[in-house]
Symmetry: C2
Subunit: 336 residues, 2 copies
DNA sequence: CTGAAAGCGCTAACAT
DNA sequence: ATGTTAGCGCTTTCAG
């Protein structure tokens, strides 16, 4: 039934260890021998037993990926990230074990201690994430997506949200806009302390200052009704407003709809930039100029960092991905 | 560093095998002994080595989940399904390895032959899926989400899409509507032979016939523009139309928008029912009466079926989940 | 009800 | 450049 390494060795006329080394490349094998081993493997359809391997080498070649479930996270982004992690992991001959946030810290400890996985990727890290001490205590490397308050001894990677906020403002400033507003994530996102939301605010505010723009910040629930109310309020309280930065994919469309129903044309009367996945930005009725949320690139970087750590290479504690802005139909120069 | 079963055994004053049996329950252990073993496990923080276990027992306690990537599949549905599979698997003490469709048949063979997983769940099965013969040939059980043309020797589970189509029509018929249309998936979905799309058409058509309704079927691209064009065409070619069944989440909102802009009020002039996730239906501007796409339930059933197969229990070759319709704001009796 | 001991299939010293 | 062999940590006969 099952072909084992000794079967391959016998067929190739070599010892089991030679087969093992031919497979791993951990010591030089003559071309001739390698050829014979490879032939035997092919002919017998040999596939090393993962468990046996893990036991003997203390490497499972499996990464854990912890995905978030909570409200306010954008599902397609998570999915794209997960797919990217799987794809990247496979390029490094690793597989991916899927865990949900729900399992919590116990889940992390479980798969790490059982040697089920060699390393972990944790998404949606909070400023004071309870998993931080755990990750530090594990004997396996990990990478976090997102920045906690204190990342000492850990590795994290994320889009540079501060720079993204700045980029959006600078674009609007460059087009001549003088009064701008940030439509942010739902209030609870700020309350529970998600770093990226606050970083956007910092970048937005700092850049507005530098460019001497009048600016204001407005968290917004992820509902069309909330978007509508906010649009009305903005027009009432900031009549000179001509530029909006949106960091909340759920309200992007309803917000633009609301503005237009209130008599403002996008981009003629109002320019809009957003921080969101490119697909979202491009699929809207009015395609929106946006800074991409590079989930695929993030997944790739996370895996790459883990692979380095697994080989003992030192990696930077914090990795920030530079933001990229794509011009679309929602921005225009301010009318004189 | 690592606590092993012999450490626990020594501490508890028993043999390793007793610890093993206390953990697995595969043979009776006296209460007193079990207590001591459990105490030792807790005190030492013992966690069985997954690889060693897999090697000795030829059970990895890991399931493979293959998720689709292609266009036209609704991401949140896949995600919810995946989460449900992970959650259900954990209840049965199993973990989930995530594979992408991209890896194809080789990926399935790889994880199965390497004994990385005990069983497989394959999503998005096509009518003539190339993975069918492979799944039949593997020595590990599998469950497919969706129905192929020929499921002999395999196990599949899905929503009863035919009944779902019928249910939508019957609801409209019951409200007095006499002329109905089905707005379906994009043409390529039918072309590549996805069973569920065709089953909806079958159910829709059959039920319309039984209720003596005038009916027509219209595939639709997943873009707002296509939705708009289709709405115009429907009004032009079927002026007496008062009931629409939508099986295409992407165009649900734009379609209703288009109808309203063309002067039809929903539900006053036009009743709409849909087959889509409940969250989608409920979140729309006009909450839509819908048959739920029960991804969570599907995931649970898939895992349950696999667990049965793993214990050697026979399971039905095909499992159809009964559709459930939830009344919302998009349906009303036809005006006399 | 419990122990002793033989592997599970592979890797990685240790040999030569 | 290759072979020999001792485990890796656990489960599961086989014995009692």
């Amino acid at each position: 039934m099952m072909v084992k390494i000794t079967d391959v060795a016998r067929r190739a006329g070599v010892s089991p260890s030679t087969v093992s080394y031919a497979l791993s490349g951990k010591r030089p094998i003559s071309d001739e021998t390698k050829r014979r081993v490879e032939a035997a493997i092919r002919e017998l359809g040999y596939r090393p037993h993962a468990g046996a391997r893990a036991l003997a080498s203390s490497r499972s070649n499996v990464l854990a990926l912890v995905i978030p479930l909570r409200a306010g996270i954008h599902v397609p982004v998570v999915m794209q990230f997960a797919v990217s992690v799987v794809t990247s992991a496979r390029r490094h001959d690793h597989d991916v074990l899927l865990l949900t946030q729900e399992e919590g810290e116990d889940g992390l400890r479980r798969v790490a201690d059982a040697a089920l996985v060699d390393a972990l990727i944790v998404m949606d890290v909070q400023l004071r994430d309870p998993r931080l001490p755990l990750l530090r205590s594990l004997d396996r490397p990990s990478v976090m997506i997102g920045f906690p308050l204190e990342s000492e001894g850990l590795t994290c990677v994320d889009l540079d949200f501060k720079a993204a906020g700045e980029l959006c403002v600078e674009r609007l400033a460059g087009l001549g806009h003088r009064v701008v507003a940030l439509v942010g994530s739902p209030p609870e996102v700020y309350v529970r302390g998600t770093a990226f939301a606050q970083r956007v605010v910092q970048g937005f505010t700092a850049a507005a200052h530098r460019s001497a723009l009048a600016s204001s910040v407005h968290p917004c629930e992820a509902t069309p009704a909330a978007a509508r109310r906010l649009a009305e309020r903005l027009l009432r309280e900031h009549p000179a407003l001509t530029g909006v930065v949106v960091h909340n994919e759920a309200v992007l469309e309803p917000l633009i709809d609301a503005f237009e129903q209130l008599g403002l044309r996008v981009p003629a009367d109002l320019s809009v930039t957003a921080i969101c996945p490119d697909e979202t930005a491009a699929a809207l009725r009015v395609p929106v100029t946006s800074v991409a949320l590079p989930s695929a690139e993030l997944g790739e970087r996370a895996v790459e960092l883990l692979m380095q750590k697994l080989t003992g290479t030192a990696v930077p504690q914090e990795t920030l991905l530079a933001p990229h802005l794509t011009e679309r139909a929602s921005t225009a120069p301010r009318l004189a």
